[in-house]
């Protein structure tokens, strides 16, 4: 074909061939594109180099090792104002991941609920869910975050309202206090087990690091027991299926499974001596327990409810995309409606739901950067906020910030795409 449209020229190479001949044209274009790129970036760089301040201050990441000098309220790992900016950024990154993870979980729950309920036969529930979806999808998430933040700061009682003999507010069930600074919840801790704190010493006494390690070890034990239960239940189910295949009757496993789930875990917790540390009003604030700050709550709740609306639409679209014939065929086989959903429709719908779900998770992660609007100390708040402000190293901080999100997004999408490929329809 090439020979027909571009007959070889006997008189060899001429300059006009660079534009007219298909064989050379692509090189010409690429060369032009490359030069244009060079010129453009060169222009940007030369502007930067000519900037008098940047010229003298240079680009230097050394500031990351300097003491940060500021305090952070939510510290998943130990930190003081004398720790380095790098450590502060690290805390920020962990906080980003914490809120992203929490929001992904709850958004999925909200989304699946709303998506399935919107398809329900129940007219009023369907309309209510449609209202939820449309309302949250069409209003910016930043507004939702700020609304929830403002309302929780203004509507909930101050800690001082819990004070006195006849307080205006009292903790829920005496253990959880919802204040306008955040939710103070009871914190579980262990009195037995590895390196545990004795019963009579308050949990915040003793060497913090050792206690931290001990507590992690204990939680690992709990987790291991949980995993063992899970495996055991799966074993029982597999055995039941085998029996069903052999005899045609499925033995009842309900009570066995219930026991396998709960008995070991309850025993473990009893042996480890689980206690709850209840927050108490001391001084200005509640002390002890877990504090979920206002900023975390606002960000978490707003992101989940907002993204939940999008996920609901994905779920609905996924279920609707399964052709009616599948449902009818399943019904013709005599499956009950619940089993039609769980055995026939959902497995197929999942394949359609998962790719958009991944991009919603990525959206959540990226939207956690809105934390800066409510002062939640995520990476944008530490590295892109206070560190940037205090050191004035804008270029370096923004570069690192973008690199983090970029790497994180690429990793998640790679992992999720791998998973997606594994559930995709195998065509042979």
């Amino acid at each position: 074909m090439t020979t027909l449209s571009d007959p070889p020229h006997a008189d060899g190479f001429r300059l006009s061939l660079l534009v007219r001949d298909k064989r050379y044209r692509s090189y010409t274009f690429q060369a032009i594109a490359l030069i244009a790129l060079f010129v453009f970036f060169g222009w940007l760089a030369s502007n930067a180099i000519r900037n008098p301040v940047l010229q003298q201050a240079g680009i230097d990441f050394g500031f990351l090792a300097d003491p940060a000098g500021y305090d952070i309220n939510q510290q998943p790992i130990p930190y003081t104002s004398q720790s380095s900016h790098l450590r502060a950024s690290f805390i920020g990154a962990i906080n980003t991941l914490i809120v992203a993870f929490l929001a992904c979980v709850t958004a999925t729950v909200f989304g699946v609920f709303a998506g399935v309920l919107r398809l329900s036969n129940n007219w009023i529930v369907g309309k209510l869910m449609a209202l939820y979806v449309e309302m949250f999808r069409n209003i910016p998430v930043l507004i939702w975050i700020l609304i929830i933040f403002t309302i929780s700061a203004n509507v909930l009682p101050q800690p001082s309202a819990f004070r006195g003999d006849d307080p205006e507010a009292s903790p829920i069930l005496g253990v959880a206090a919802l204040t306008n600074r955040g939710f103070y919840l009871p914190r579980p801790y262990f009195t037995n087990g590895i390196g545990a704190v004795p019963d009579d010493v308050p949990a915040d006494g003793g060497a913090p690091v050792a206690q931290e390690v001990a507590s992690i070890a204990n939680w690992l034990i709990v987790l291991a027991v949980f995993a063992a239960s899970f495996l055991a239940v799966r074993g029982v189910n597999a055995w039941a299926t085998k029996r069903q295949n052999a005899t045609g009757r499925r033995p009842s496993t309900f009570w066995t499974n219930l026991g396998l789930w709960f008995v070991p875990i309850i025993l473990t917790l009893l042996i480890l001596g689980l206690r709850w540390e209840v927050p108490e009003l001391r001084g200005f604030n509640f002390q002890g327990g877990i504090l979920a700050r206002n900023s975390l709550i606002a960000l978490w709740f707003a992101l989940s409810i907002y993204t939940g609306a999008f996920i609901a639409e994905n779920v609905r679209a996924g279920i609707l995309a399964i052709s009616r014939g599948q449902t009818e065929a399943a019904a013709a086989l005599g499956l009950r409606p619940g089993r039609v959903m769980s055995l026939v429709v959902l497995p197929q719908a999942l394949r359609i739901i998962i790719p958009p779900l991944i991009s919603q998770y990525l959206n959540i992660t990226k939207n956690t950067s809105l934390a800066i609007a409510v002062g939640y100390m995520d990476l944008t708040g530490t590295l892109g906020g206070i560190t940037l402000n205090q050191t004035g190293r804008a270029l370096e901080c923004v570069l690192l910030l973008m690199a983090f999100y970029l790497v994180f997004s690429l990793v998640i999408s790679a992992v999720m795409n791998a998973y997606n490929a594994s559930v995709a329809l195998k065509e042979r």
Binding site: A57, G69, Q158, N180, M377, G385, T391
Partner: protein, 339 residues
């Protein structure tokens, strides 16, 4: 790889061209207006009034410089900056002058490559608390929840203060004055901390100012002043001496009302004569007209007038002169001789 090669080649070209970095004075005169970075809104220091005109103590510095350089105190573009954007705005050339109650610190002066030209307000960090909290000293604040503006020196001072006094606190970082207000008034923090001048200025805007009080402790030195880019000393000199002209004017009794009269002919005081251009050629030495100081004073008044109009005891903010009185009256404001 592409980019690094490119950066290298362009870098060489760039450094060759860099010697010719433009002088700020020429830029301002060509443009016909001064780009001045100010706060987003602290009553008394820099805030737009009901007509959208910027007013305040810091704003007056901008207007004085514009009057000195361009002869027109209204030839100013006010660019509001936050704690985060202020330094980039100055470094990138978006503003020529930053008059945004910025604390003069070692690292800002050296590492960030700025020049603080003067101190127009000697301040210190303080705390404001609701009276109902029953706190009378900052040392009783162990365990308190404290609202701080991020990106300011107050954040670092606070961390130091609590560390030194072996107390703990719960920081609530906030972006700007408006947010601090909503959080603090809603009781989402027990204490709000920032420069005492700003605390006094916001307290009067609270619904019931008497329900709030400033704690006596001053936990830091906060010398606030205008700053310019490092490396353009001519421009720095202009801003510095415009400011000193305002201070000197107060010392020698030159006011907004009498400056025109005093500048018409040389008077008894040679320093005033030199200041107002009736004697000597001080204006030419910094590349301005001889009436530069006269223009600045005529535009905004002398330092004392600026102070009392915007933040002094007669104004809504109601700050005492204190450290900011002239040195002759026991304060720290002092202008080097004009000669």
């Amino acid at each position: 790889m592409k980019k690094s090669v490119l950066l290298g080649t362009v870098a060489a070209a760039g450094f060759a061209a860099a010697g010719a970095s433009a002088a700020t004075l020429d830029d301002v005169q060509d443009r016909g207006s001064l780009n001045c970075g100010v706060n987003t809104g602290v009553p008394g220091f820099a805030a737009p009034d009901a007509n959208g005109e910027w007013q305040g103590f810091d704003v007056a510095i901008c207007r004085a410089v514009a009057a000195a350089v361009l002869g027109d105190p209204n030839a100013v573009n006010f660019i509001s900056t936050t704690g985060k954007t202020r330094f980039t705005a100055l470094a990138s050339g978006e503003v020529d002058l930053l008059a945004r109650n910025t604390t003069w610190t070692f690292s800002r002066d050296t590492d960030l490559k700025f020049d603080f030209v003067a101190i127009n307000y000697y301040d210190g960090q303080g705390f404001i608390v609701p009276t109902a909290l029953g706190v009378s000293s900052a040392e009783e604040l162990d365990g308190a929840t404290i609202c701080i503006q991020t990106g300011t020196t107050t954040e670092l001072n606070l961390a130091d203060y609590f560390r030194v006094n072996n107390m703990s606190y719960e920081p609530v970082p906030i972006e700007n004055e408006a947010e601090a207000r909503t959080q603090f008034l809603a009781g989402a923090c027990d204490v709000y901390t920032t420069d005492r001048s700003a605390l006094a200025s916001v307290r009067v805007t609270y619904p019931s100012p008497d329900d709030y009080k400033l704690l006596p402790e001053v936990i830091s030195k906060e010398p606030l002043g205008p700053l310019v880019r490092h490396g353009d000393s001519e421009w720095g000199d202009i801003v510095r001496w415009t400011y000193f002209a305002l201070v000197a004017a107060e010392q020698y009794g030159v006011t907004q009302d009498n400056v025109a009269e005093m500048a018409t002919e040389a008077g008894d005081n040679p320093e005033v004569n030199r200041l107002l251009g009736t004697e000597g050629e001080l204006g030419a030495m910094i590349g301005l007209e001889s009436s530069w100081a006269e223009n600045a004073i005529a535009a905004v008044g002398n330092y004392g007038e600026i102070f009392s109009r915007n933040i002094g005891e007669e104004s809504a903010v109601g700050l005492e002169r204190g450290l900011n009185a002239l040195y002759t009256e026991g304060g720290l404001q002092y202008a080097p001789p004009f000669r």
